[in-house]
Symmetry: C2
Subunit: 270 residues, 2 copies
């Protein structure tokens, strides 16, 4: 989840001319409302009115009024101790997100098959901004430890699913990612732009990514693309297994098959 | 999901005096933004800009500007065909809702045990407004057919989970529900206020609800309360089985046990 400070940037779309009179005033009101929602994140799922105001950068009276409106609508809920939480109405709305629950629903039978065949970690992820966002993870009690969970964001260059999504995105976007500092999580992480570019070329050639000990020292990820009805890559599926004693390339056919299965379920035809 | 027309009611909280100058103007802006989000529902998860404007009751130019702001923030996403959908950002926000994913996560092991023991339909639901909202459903291929799904709303009086939630709610709220028209789905539905009140008294006496053929003619639901840390009923769990050849009361101990297990996981101590 972005920090509230990211939310005060003005939107970059053109203003329709017949509406520009009250646009500045109203836009600011909309942004303040979104800043209230953006005050909540995984570390702070429950906030007092004062905390909401501070995190959203709003005077208390304004926060009070906006929180009241959001609570009436159901986007926020107040508990008996007086703290606010994200409300059920947001959860109902989220059920309509095609890149969240709808994608997960279509993918689940294929993810379950991949899990049944391996009893290791199975991931489904999408691209959002400069990050990978995990939509689902299936994992056995004895699977190798991983740091992903649904809703978590990770950098594109350090994950198998991220390499697949980045390799299939526009050239300008790849240049943007390769031109920024690339965090290293282990000595093996692809934190050098030249090595990252070579890895992306290899993903495009083979259609699959093998990310070896990129985030932890003991795990390797094998990832494949998921395509939408128009053939564009809309998600990635991966299998994360212990790196010791694994021949990652032996896992490629199974992961690729899962990716093709999910793509077909989404309406893709080869 | 409520219809957009429900969203234009003014919020009923007091306005802070030092903020009332621009309150009328800003409140209306906030309401318009929420009306855009409220334009999406299960029957219409993808909308054009024109449809959003029409469903939200907004001029096209205003809809255009608000949709732009919501898209920049990530609450909406635009696909290549130009339709708008609920965005990933809402899904990330929804993951923080204590009555959605957090409740489901705490309850899931107990729901799975109940499912493993019966291979029938297992439900978890909460009260919202005048409805039951289903948070989770586990169901076998051979379980009796039910009309619930996660995110669906049903009237309180016609479901086992609803009877449990209603029986444990405030007297004034029960009077409000019993004073409204009560829809009948089968000849057995508790659509008579006097019968409903007797059923609620029985639920309070036994701690469990048995809803026999209330929504379909072939299913019976056995439901039990889920309590939060303060002992208040925050959700209900149920088992829905074929009515033919079932002794519903034989299922009560298992459902009650699941309810107590989830309650303990939420921090309740008897």
């Amino acid at each position: 989840m972005k920090e509230p400070s990211d939310m005060t940037d003005p939107p970059d779309m053109a203003e329709p001319s017949d509406d520009s009179a009250d646009a500045a005033r109203s836009r600011s009101a909309a942004e303040r409302l979104l800043a209230v929602l953006g005050a909540f994140d995984h570390r702070r799922p429950a906030l007092s009115l004062t905390e909401i105001g501070r995190r959203a950068g709003l005077p208390l009276a304004t926060a009070h009024r906006l929180v009241g409106e959001l609570t009436v609508w159901g986007a926020l809920e107040r508990d008996v101790a007086g703290s606010y939480h994200v409300g059920l109405r947001i959860w109902e709305l989220a059920a309509l997100a095609p890149r969240g629950p709808a994608l997960r629903e279509a993918a689940l039978p294929f993810l379950e098959d991949l899990y049944e065949a391996t009893h290791e970690n199975v991931h489904l992820a999408v691209l959002d901004g400069l990050d990978v966002v995990y939509i689902e993870r299936l994992s056995g009690r004895h699977a190798v430890g991983v740091r992903s969970r649904p809703g978590a964001r990770w950098p594109l260059h350090a994950t198998g699913v991220g390499l697949v999504l980045l390799a299939h995105s526009a050239k300008a976007f790849q240049d943007q990612v390769c031109g920024r500092p690339l965090a290293a999580f282990t000595p093996h992480t692809l934190s050098d732009p030249a090595r990252l570019r070579r890895a992306l070329a290899e993903v495009r050639r083979t259609g699959c990514a093998v990310a070896d000990r990129q985030i932890t020292d003991d795990a390797v990820s094998v990832a494949a693309p998921v395509r939408g009805p128009r053939g564009d890559v809309v998600a990635a599926v991966s299998l994360v297994v212990p790196s010791a004693g694994t021949q990652p390339h032996s896992l490629v056919p199974a992961v690729r098959l899962a990716g093709r299965g999910i793509s077909r379920a989404l309406g893709w035809r080869p």
